[in-house]
């Protein structure tokens, strides 16, 4: 019924071993033989049995890409970019040669699902795993992740972090591409301060996420430097003290990275502190919700209140007014992560590269009135 490598060998009048060699291409084979085999493959419409070859070779051509939320373009862009480097250009024949199969796994931001996917990928003997987006800063989960990743690395799976800082104990990694969330957050708030804002609301992302913490820390650094913080700016990375401080700050509200959260948090912020003249959102999607809330309260952007986002997703430039935000080179980072996963590119020195964030000043921010 199903045609196997042996069938191809028979038709090409060679041994199975030879067929295997031409298919994998990593061994010298006479040109004439190769051609005969290839013809037999086409004639028989043969498709390699992936599980069988993975079993024999003890490795598969799967590359996993873990994302928090694939419906969010932030992840979609990175994942799509990574896939361009992994899937290979295709030879146009639809025949599928030596390319890898990039598989995007949607964790929904849940630590459990993240681990489950890693186990599934481990089970598949994945060639590489790319982890995107902020990590959950829970000691237990971090330990479990470190252990799991170490096991994957042991089994020969390449590990790449993209837009996420490496794990504290992370030696089992090929490379990490970390976004400069803190620097971006700082420059964004500095911009607002330089415009004359003194009371700035902050709609933060979910707690216990590195992305959330770093962006917020950058914000507070800028406030602190300007002497605008009623609360301490928090300690160094990972000491956790920043959380308590932020928890007490009435100008900071936490919520998920979605539009609705931005809307509601902004309403709450406006209630708590009607004198805020600017609102910084954890990302562009949240900022869109913030804009809607501001408008629904009868205020204009930026005349009555400035709003800023983060990421510079494609729709941000089309917001009205266009959104001031911090651009992250998501596509480039994703592509680079893909190349690292494929071993096409050498890891950065020290295993970690920090990717710069660029302030994009547009129409949604302006000097406060009066």
């Amino acid at each position: 019924m199903t045609v196997t490598l042996a069938d191809v060998a028979a038709r090409a009048r060679v041994s199975p071993a030879t067929v295997s060699r031409v298919l994998n291409g990593n061994y010298p084979v006479a040109a004439s033989t190769r051609e005969r085999v290839l013809r037999a493959v086409d004639d028989l419409d043969y498709v390699l049995n992936g599980p069988a070859s993975s079993l024999a070779a003890a490795t598969s051509d799967l590359v996993g890409i873990l994302v928090n939320d694939i419906a969010d373009p932030f992840f979609g862009i990175m994942a799509g970019a990574a896939q361009t480097q992994i899937g290979g250009p295709g030879d146009g024949s639809g025949r599928a040669g030596g390319e890898k199969l990039a598989v995007i796994c949607n964790t929904g931001g849940s630590p459990e699902r993240e681990l489950t996917y890693l186990t599934l990928l481990q089970r598949q003997r994945a060639a590489a795993v790319v982890l995107t987006g902020g990590a959950v800063e829970n000691p237990e989960h971090q330990a479990a992740m470190a252990a799991k990743l170490a096991k994957l690395a042991d089994a020969g799976t390449r590990i790449v972090f993209c837009g996420r800082p490496p794990l504290p104990e992370g030696d089992a990694l090929v490379a990490a591409l970390a976004f400069d969330n803190r620097g971006g957050g700082r420059r964004l708030t500095e911009h607002l301060i330089s415009l004359g804002h003194r009371r700035i609301g902050y709609v933060a992302g979910p707690r216990e996420r590195t992305t959330t913490r770093h962006r917020l820390e950058g914000h507070r650094e800028a406030l602190h430097a300007a002497g605008l913080d009623d609360f301490p700016a928090g300690g160094g990375p990972g000491d956790g003290s920043g959380h308590r401080a932020a928890d007490d700050d009435p100008l900071v509200v936490h919520g998920p990275y979605d539009r609705r959260s931005g809307y509601e948090a902004t309403l709450e912020l406006l209630r708590r502190a009607p004198d805020v003249t600017a609102i910084v959102a954890a990302n562009d999607t949240v900022a869109l919700g913030a804009c809607a809330a501001v408008r629904d309260q009868g205020m204009r952007i930026p005349q009555d209140i400035s709003v800023a986002g983060f990421d510079d997703l494609p729709f941000s430039v089309d917001a009205v007014p266009a959104l001031t935000t911090v651009r992250l080179p998501l596509f480039e980072a994703g592509a680079r992560a893909g190349r690292l996963a494929m071993g096409k590119e050498n890891p950065p020195p020290g295993g970690i590269a920090t990717i710069a964030a660029e302030l994009m000043i547009r129409g949604s921010t302006a000097a406060p009135r009066g």
Copy 2:
């Protein structure tokens, strides 16, 4: 080095077969035995070898989800929804039980890559494949797809179409969920006509895509019914005659489904026909570009010109003014496709279900000026 099922069996003092049975859970095993095995699994930190079990069982736990562009929320939402039904809720242990691994494959809208991915999935002996989004209407490609899908189906892979019409010869399919693109497009243009618009520009998607064709056909149906078409409304589905007609229509411009295309096509439309009072875009992303172009020309929306989109992506309600569009229940459709792929839900009668599109009238459309 690597722990195998035999090791677990030895430690649990049972046969390998028994371990296999508790792991797969599809066979009666005494509770006490099961517990012993499970403990051994935990003690040894055993992870099933996917390739080996797929080889032996002649099927894998992979489910492929093909999308045109994962950076586009249109696909991200469907894919994410499908994955919620496929990945399983996870048992919170990170241990990975019987769940499937949903893998999202980004074709970039390229027919070759689509076929390549199907071959890769076939190679992996995927349990199911979900194809999302519009299909390319190229006879050669359609034939190749039909052949490939038939082979997959033969090998026991379940096939589900989501937001895409089934193939003409498509019998090798479990189910198709098709969006009512034509009806949605028609109602949208009817709405514009009822508002008083007579000259309506249309920014269409790429040619040779079912989605593009159906939406455009709906538009032209509405025009025709109102006696507003200078050109024939095109024949029935698939006869291709609609294309030629549309090609000659100065009020229709084709382009990719992205913001930039919307911007440029709108400029072109405005140049060709300065008297248009409304612009219908192929989707919301394109509509955003159209809005930007309209504004850059110094015109106001909707006072000077109305703009409408399609899909009702999350950001559309936050556009200013909020975008009139056609809502497609992307999440629900994706989830249903996921359930169909898992065999959790029965296929619709006749194998195909049409999913209704709902007109969302918002601020970006209004009556033309006097």
